[in-house]
């Protein structure tokens, strides 16, 4: 069981690294915002898995907050790009 959790965490770390490279390279504002969105989603899943590793029920609330509030920044940036803010 522990090996599976380690494999999952390392795969997620590689996903975060690749999308961060896209954030640095991306030629456009929309590309960087997509990278931020992907990083937020992977971070939410990582928070839930780390909460399972620590065996504390209260730790899952942080992932809940990220799932509820993480997309507001992306929507505000999109409205700014559209010129409608």
């Amino acid at each position: 069981m522990t090996t599976i959790i380690y494999i999952a965490l390392i795969l997620m770390a590689f996903g975060m690294l690749l999308s961060f490279i896209r954030f640095v390279k991306g030629p456009n504002t929309a590309d960087r915002t997509v990278a931020l969105d992907t990083l937020t989603t992977i971070g939410t899943a990582a928070l839930v898995l780390l909460g399972y590793m620590f065996h504390r029920y209260i730790y899952v609330d942080v992932a809940l907050i990220y799932a509820v509030l993480g997309f507001i920044g992306v929507i505000v940036i999109a409205r700014y790009l559209e010129g409608a803010l």
Binding site: F23, L36, G73
Partner: protein
């Protein structure tokens, strides 16, 4: 061992995003960079056994800071200007 790798990875991510957001000329990209700094900082608080601080950092860093910076950029100019 896995804690060591994770914390090292998150610290490198945080330093890289901070350097990027300070050196970038386009202020919109710098704002997105502060969002990534806030995400890495929140997971680091989580690994340092402070979930309440991580919750506050998530709520404020992910949503509110981005919103007020975007509103400020919309009311002023977007580029830093090298003249």
């Amino acid at each position: 061992m896995i804690y060591f790798i994770l914390i090292l990875f998150l610290m490198i991510l945080m330093i890289a995003a901070a350097i990027y957001s300070v050196y970038q000329k386009d202020l919109m990209y710098a704002t997105i960079g502060t969002g990534i700094v806030s995400l890495a900082l929140s997971i680091l608080f989580y690994l340092l056994q402070a979930p309440d601080v991580a919750l506050t950092e998530a709520a404020i860093g992910a949503a509110l800071t981005t919103i007020i910076f975007v509103i400020a950029i919309r009311n002023t100019i977007r580029y830093e200007g090298d003249d």
